[in-house]
């Protein structure tokens, strides 16, 4: 079986990509208008929405970067995971019903559309769309780059394609992504999310049980091995320390409700009452998928410390080394397919909201609308992918800066404007505009100049707290805003 490891991995990844293409062809027939392309006709079922929500939340970072962080820092990055139930609660309590109702009330196609409806100002919608677009460019480029690097690793292990270039792998990855995103828009995106979410759950659960049996003493032996070397590493704060961990807890817990590619899914489900089932399913899906993040990193650290495995060249190699040496070839194949699934489910969601920003939100905020919306949506999807691919290949450090800039910027821009603003009638458009601009400025300048905060406080957490404070402060100091009576009635519900 071991000699078949590479063909099995390649087969699993190939099968998964084929499934994505099939879903794209199937979704083509269900996509007849821009409303279908961006909002899936507001007709999504419970399971599809739940899987789309959790799989978009957990990007490729959860499968590569996450285990790497656990290997390097011990328990520190667990704080990004242990906040997630509270994060989903915040998203659902504050947004699931409100976004769904407002988007139906205003026949909205995107998040900036709902922002315009709530605040009655084009400037707020324009700034929201610009923040989304900037974040999307960075995030999408990093996802495309990650997808290409993983594909190159897999293909280089075969005899035939051992010298395949990164550019060729990028072209293959982008072709699959573009194919189903162009043909089926968000319909293809969410139904591939269903497959992707399923693959991620199965892969993560199997990995978790493999990890449990790697040491005879199970997880207790893993913990004891790590504690014997450094107790802090397996303590609740890991090696990062209490203040840094708490800043992650804050920005990942509250900031989850500010991720546009995730909360946009809350505008698409069929019945408002479905939200009561979507919340627990999203939580369960995420919990299972996160098992991979938390288990591989710890076991690899214990294996290296106990001398059973040589030191890793880099922390990010934790997942691939574990799969290569300790997982059954079929499991390795499923996990690699799961990795692609995690990356693609996030990438296609970004592609969709980025396309909406370029061909719908920004033109609308500037006072004009494009005819033949569906065709323009498809053309924009292709152009945005090409732009992001070029950005990934040739922008050097800028792609890393914008990639890291994503989560915190979205959180600081969207949490005040949308999460709080849709639940607090006193919020004003000026406050929302200032919050968005401050989030962009703080995050970009800190990343650009490489400023580090004391005790590893996350810059996203700082910008989220500052933008929220500005948002509340300016709203308190401004006269109460005029709100459309119907919007106000929805906010009272």
């Amino acid at each position: 079986m071991e000699e078949l490891r590479n063909p099995i991995i390649l087969g699993c990844v190939g099968l998964y990509m084929l499934l994505c293409i099939v879903v794209g062809i199937w979704a083509l027939r269900r996509t007849k208008s821009t409303h279908d392309f961006f909002m899936a006709g507001r007709d999504l079922g419970i399971l599809v929405t739940a899987f789309a929500v959790f799989s978009s939340t957990l990007s490729g970072f959860g499968f590569v970067g996450g285990p790497g962080l656990v290997y390097r820092m011990g328990m520190s990055s667990f704080w990004m995971v242990v906040c997630i139930i509270m994060g989903f609660n915040i998203s659902f309590y504050l947004l699931a019903k409100r976004l769904r109702l407002l988007s139906e009330l205003g026949s909205c196609l995107s998040l900036p559309d709902v922002v315009a409806l709530r605040y009655g100002k084009r400037s707020t919608a324009l700034l929201t769309a610009l923040a989304i677009l900037l974040g999307v460019l960075g995030y999408l480029a990093t996802q495309i780059l990650a997808m290409s690097v993983v594909l190159q690793d897999i293909l280089r292990a075969t005899a035939v394609l051992s010298d395949i270039s990164l550019e060729s792998c990028l072209a293959i990855s982008c072709f699959i992504l573009v194919f189903y995103s162009v043909t089926g828009g968000i319909v293809a995106s969410v139904y591939t999310d269903l497959i992707q979410g399923g693959v991620m759950i199965v892969a993560a659960t199997l990995v978790f049980f493999t990890v449990l049996f790697t040491f005879d003493g199970g997880f207790t032996e893993v913990s004891q091995t790590i504690a014997a070397d450094d107790r802090e590493a397996i303590g609740p704060w890991g090696t990062l320390g209490m203040i840094g961990c708490l800043s992650w807890f804050f920005v990942f817990g509250l900031g989850g409700s500010g991720q546009p590619h995730v909360i946009t899914k809350m505008m698409m489900y069929k019945k408002v009452s479905d939200a009561r089932f979507i919340l627990p399913l999203s939580i369960v899906g995420y919990l299972f998928s996160a098992l991979l993040w938390i288990s591989i990193g710890l076991v690899m650290r214990a294996l290296v410390l106990s001398g059973r495995h040589p030191e890793l060249a880099s922390a990010d190699a934790a997942a691939s080394q574990f799969l290569q040496h300790y997982a059954h070839p079929v499991l390795a194949g499923v996990v690699f397919a799961g990795l692609f699934a995690a990356i693609m489910s996030t990438a296609d969601a970004f592609l969709n909201i980025g396309t909406a920003a370029v061909m719908h939100d920004i033109p609308k905020a500037l006072g004009f609308q494009l005819a033949n919306g569906l065709s323009w949506a498809r053309i924009t999807t292709v152009l945005l992918t090409i732009l992001s691919a070029l950005f990934a290949l040739y922008s050097g450090d800028l792609v890393a800066i914008l990639g890291a800039f994503g989560w915190g910027t979205f959180a600081a821009a969207i949490v005040p404007t949308v999460t709080i603003g849709f639940n607090w009638k006193r919020a004003t458009p000026l406050a929302a505009n200032v919050a968005i601009v401050s989030s962009l400025l703080i995050n970009f300048l800190v990343k650009l100049y490489g400023i580090s905060l004391p005790y590893n406080i996350d810059v996203g957490a700082l910008s989220l707290a500052v933008s929220l404070l500005l948002f509340f402060g300016i709203s308190f100091l401004s006269p109460p805003p005029a709100i459309d009576p119907d919007v106000e009635a929805v906010m009272d519900m």
Binding site: G74, I85, S223, A227, S314, N423, M493
Partner: protein, 177 residues
């Protein structure tokens, strides 16, 4: 006090605490460092448990963040339409969440320098508080969302009013065209 004022106060307190931590003297060897044997790993520094000022400030930051989370949840719906037992459930969940965080911090106080830690569920006890307590305690609120959705989150009366509103807007749009 309104929820918005409360949230503003907690956010202000959080920034003030971060500033205080930044201005306070940094204890020696408190930061992480590269592992002496394995370059790809980090090793933890001296725990804050040895420094009462930093420990107190960090604990306050944690409580402040939890209070922000809870206030944000409260901002969404408040206690409108809930019976006393249901309010008690939510208050219990909130207190438990704060209590578990404090318990975890206390259990970590002498974790690094004390005798060998006890293990629960495969993890040292402070870490077990975090993984099994802080991670899962918010399920209290998820259960409330699911169980009382029709009564609390979106009652049938709201549904009826909303459908009527959408129909009226559609009529107005058609007439305007």
């Amino acid at each position: 006090m309104k929820t918005s004022h409360l949230l503003f106060s907690f956010l202000f307190a959080l920034l003030a605490l971060w500033l205080a931590v930044g201005l306070a003297e940094v204890p020696a060897q408190v930061g992480s460092s590269v592992h002496p044997q394995f370059n790809s790993m980090q090793k933890g520094g001296v725990s804050f448990a040895e420094h009462p000022l930093q420990q107190g400030l960090s604990l306050s930051i944690g409580i402040c963040i939890l209070c922000i989370f809870l206030s944000v949840l409260y901002l969404a719906k408040g206690f409108r339409g809930l019976r006393t037992a249901q309010k008690a459930w939510l208050v219990t969940g909130a207190l438990l969440y704060l209590g578990i965080f404090v318990a975890m911090s206390l259990s970590h106080l002498h974790y690094s320098t004390g005798p060998a830690p006890s293990y629960f569920g495969g993890l040292p006890s402070p870490t077990a508080w975090m993984v099994y307590g802080i991670w899962f305690c918010p399920l209290f609120f998820s259960i409330a969302y699911v169980a009382w959705f029709d009564q609390w989150i979106f009652p049938p009366e709201d549904h009826r009013v909303f459908e009527e509103m959408v129909r009226r807007r559609q009529r107005e749009t058609t007439q305007n065209q």
